[in-house]
Every structure is written in structure tokens, then in C-alpha cells.
Amino acid sequence: MSEIMRKAVVLSFAIPALFIVFSYYTGAVKSEAARLIAWPVTLANFSIILGVATFTRYHLERVTKRTEQWPFNLIAVASFMITFVLALVAKSTYDYVVSNVVIVLQISLMSFISFYNFTLFYRATRVRTAEVGLLLVSAILVMLWMAPVGEAVSPAFPTIGKWINDIPSGGAMRGILIGIAVGIIGLFVRSLIGYERSYVGG
């Protein structure tokens, strides 16, 4: 990156950032700051056009070059175009597609997590040290608090599980959260003085 580029990047980072910080702590220019805060999502919505270009180029190239998996790339491009066009011209069909294809696919893809829970538990939690044992015990007790079955077995389970979750675990969380907040401050300062520019690619 050239020197001018570097300065421009840092300035265009710092000016809006400092403006918001100033407004937050002084209570001045509140409504201007509120409008500024709404920008990022709008900008992200603009950036989706970059995605369209990359997406169609990537898949169409594979279809035209007839690479090994090309029929699947064709499925991707075709379903993209069909969904988008339906949204513009046939709202009721589009609604059907959203609730019966998009949502169903979303939930079934997400449900992998329920299965992988178990395999992760099975593979990763061998008691090698006392600390892992503690992790296990705390996990089991909290599970017995969460699931209705725990209370049915013994009314003590919810109390113990809730205590673990609230007191030792809740306290540790405070510590971790404070540490993370410090990391955020550190990264902000490093960005302000121009050390951290990964968000523009280095």
C-alpha cells in the first residue's frame, strides 16, 4: 500500500470513529451520530453486489469449462436466478419457495449441530486431568438443570445446576468478558494509530 493510501485509509477509519466516540461520551450531536451508526449495514448491503459478480463468475466458469462437478455449479446458479426472479415477478411462488425450500434447508443444515454435539462429547471429553473432570461434572449438572427430566429425578439437580451456572461460571464469565473488552479497546487503539489495517487487506 502506498503512503497516501495508508493515510487515507486511517483517516477514513478514524474520523467517523472519533465522531461517534465523542458523541457517545458528551451527549452532543446525538442524532447525527445515530444516523452514522446506521451506515455500516447499508454499506454491507451495497457490498452484496460484489458477491453477485464473484458468485456468478465462479460457478458459470465451472459450468462452461465442464469441470468435474459442473452440474452442481449449474444447480447453484440456476436456483439462485430462479429464486431471485421469482421474488421479483411471482411473489406467491416465491413465498412458497422461501417457506418450503429455504427455511427447510436452513433448519436441516443447522441440525447437524445436534448430531455433532454427541460425537464431540464422545471424542473429546476423556478425563485426562482433574480440570477436564471438573468441566465434565459441571456440564452434566447443568444439563440436569436444563432438561425437565433432571427435576423429575431429584429436586436437588436444578438447584445445583443453577448455582454452578450462576456463581462460579457466572463469575468466570465476567472475568473473560472484561478481558475481551480490553482486547477490543486494544484493537481499536491500534487501528486508530494505523497499525491494524487488516480490514482493508493488510
Binding site: 446525538k30 442524532s31 445515530a34 444516523r35 451508526i37 446506521a38 455500516p40 449495514v41 447499508t42 448491503n45 422461501v98 429455504v102 427455511i103 436452513q106 433448519i107 443447522m110 445436534s114 448430531f115 454435539n117 454427541f118 460425537t119 462429547f121 464422545y122 471424542r123 471429553t125 476423556r126 478425563v127 465434565l136 456440564a139 452434566i140 447443568v142 444439563m143 440436569l144 436444563m146 432438561a147 425437565p148 427430566v149 433432571g150 427435576e151 423429575a152 436444578p158 451456572n165 450462576d166 461460571s169 457466572g170 464469565m173 465476567r174 468478558l177
Partner: protein, 283 residues
């Protein structure tokens, strides 16, 4: 699990056992008991406690992903809120800040459950309730909702400018709101913007987040919360608007038991084998 099985087949066995376990309650009724916790009770009574003609701001920040867990509880909450609007003139402001899914889901609850169920009888859109739709910006919008609603929502879900909605004339910021509420997966963003406003704030939140919600929940930053699908089931029992959450509870219990078994059994076997080896060697 037999050590003869390859790791891949061990995984497959776990998957099959799990699928069979959660399918079991759909095929025959198991009927494990469901005690109602004080959390759900206070959630119910906090909503009941809103003053007559009071204003409730409810942010539906669900995604299609959280919908499986919290959806049926959300429907019960909407029904409860609308019934309060009918009985006591409470006014409802619905919004979404996280992503577009929430606005779609919120609109579909009103379309598919509230209006056909007769919960909106005698109520008028724009006077008793308003749907602001998706206000992109998440945390920024959350801040906007309690500082200046008219700035953050220039129009409602249906494109009507906010100045033309009668009930929004005297609802501009948090001082006009009596109860804050949100449902979804996250809490930190809400706590940062809503914590310390001094208004009651209720949350219907994924059980996953509950461990995280604790710091916000202590000392009354969050007034009370529904603990995931289980909380929803309890709330459904309290309101009488039963749905999917209630029927999922048996499967949840069986799934949790399987998880506990998977945590304990291999470790117990391992320790027993180790103990056996040790006693053999000492002999």
C-alpha cells in the same frame, strides 16, 4: 461402544441411536413431567403487570434458525400480548433489528396465528399495534429504538411513513415505553443498549445463551427470561396456548440423557479398565 467399531462407524451408531431416541416421542407418548419454574411464572406476571394503556416494545430478532427452538413460545407471547391489548388497551410496537428473517417471521405470526385466532378482534393496526419491520443496524437500531424511534424507523413494515401512524405520535423514546422485550439468540447487544434504562425488560432467549445471560440477569438488568425451548413450554402451559415446544420436551429430556450417558459411560469404562490394570499389576 465396542472398540472394534471404526471411528466412522462409532459416529454413525451415535447418530442412529439419537435419531431413534428423538423419534420415539412422536411415535408413542412418553409423558415425562414438566415442572414450571419461577422464571416462567415471573415472565408471565411481568407481562401481566404492564399498566392499562401501557406500551410494550417487542423486538422479534429470531432467525429461521432460532425459530425451531423459540418459535412456538413466540407465538404464545404474541397471543398473550394481543389478548392484553384486547382486555386492557395495551399498545404493542413490534420491530426487528438483527436480520430480515425476524420481520418475515413476525409478520407471519400476525397473519397466520393472531388474526385467524381472533386475537386481533376489536383491535386496529396503527392504533393498537404497529409492526416496524426490519430496522437494519442491530445494535445501532436497538439504541435508536430507545432514544428516537422516529429516526430509526422512518416507515413501518408496510411502507407507511411513521408520521402517519396514529399511535406512534406519542411514542418516541424509552420514556413512553412500559415494557421492553426481545426474543432471539443474543443478549449482549441488547444489554449494552437497554441495560440500565430502568425499564422492565423480559427476554425469550435460546437456552444456549442462558449461560451468558446470567451477568445481565443478576441485579435485575434483565427482569426475567424464558429459558429456551423449555421456558417456552412452561410459558405455553401458563398461558394455555400450547404448541410445539410442549410436545418437544420429551425428546429434549431423552436427548439430554443420551448426552450424559455419552459423557459418563466411556469415561467410566476407561477408568474401570485402568483400575483393573492397576489391581492386576499390584497382584
Amino acid at each position: 461402544m465396542s472398540p472394534k467399531l471404526s471411528p466412522l462407524n462409532q459416529d454413525r451408531l451415535i447418530f442412529i441411536v439419537y435419531i431413534l431416541l428423538i423419534a420415539l416421542p412422536s411415535l408413542l407418548v412418553v409423558g415425562l413431567p414438566l415442572p414450571v419454574t419461577s422464571l416462567a411464572k415471573s415472565f408471565h406476571s411481568t407481562i401481566e403487570g404492564v399498566r392499562d394503556r401501557g406500551v410494550v416494545l417487542w423486538v422479534t430478532d429470531q432467525t429461521f434458525g432460532t425459530w425451531v427452538e423459540l418459535g412456538s413460545g413466540e407465538i404464545a407471547i404474541y397471543k398473550h400480548l394481543f389478548s392484553l391489548a384486547q382486555r386492557r388497551g395495551i399498545r404493542l410496537v413490534f420491530a426487528t433489528t438483527y436480520n430480515a428473517d425476524g420481520a418475515v417471521l413476525s409478520a407471519s405470526i400476525v397473519q397466520d396465528h393472531i388474526i385467524p385466532g381472533g386475537f386481533a378482534k376489536g383491535l386496529k393496526y396503527g392504533e393498537n399495534w404497529v409492526q416496524l419491520g426490519w430496522l437494519p443496524g442491530w445494535e445501532a437500531s436497538l439504541r435508536g429504538l430507545v432514544t428516537d424511534i422516529h429516526k430509526v424507523a422512518r416507515a413501518d413494515y408496510f411502507g407507511t411513513p411513521i408520521e402517519k401512524i396514529p399511535m406512534m405520535k406519542d411514542i418516541t423514546s424509552v420514556k413512553d415505553i412500559d415494557l421492553l422485550g426481545h426474543s432471539g439468540y443474543y443478549i449482549d447487544e441488547y444489554g449494552r443498549q437497554w441495560g440500565g434504562l430502568g425499564k422492565p425488560w423480559v427476554v425469550s432467549i435460546s437456552a444456549t445463551t442462558v449461560a451468558m445471560a446470567k451477568p445481565w440477569f443478576e441485579k435485575g438488568i434483565v427482569t426475567t427470561y424464558l429459558n429456551g425451548q423449555r421456558g417456552c413450554a412452561e410459558y405455553e402451559a401458563l398461558t394455555g396456548y400450547r404448541g410445539l415446544a410442549t410436545s418437544a420436551m420429551d425428546a429434549q429430556s431423552l436427548g439430554h440423557l443420551l448426552a450424559i450417558a455419552i459423557l459418563i459411560v466411556p469415561n467410566a469404562l476407561y477408568l474401570a479398565r485402568k483400575g483393573l490394570r492397576r489391581s492386576n499389576s499390584t497382584r
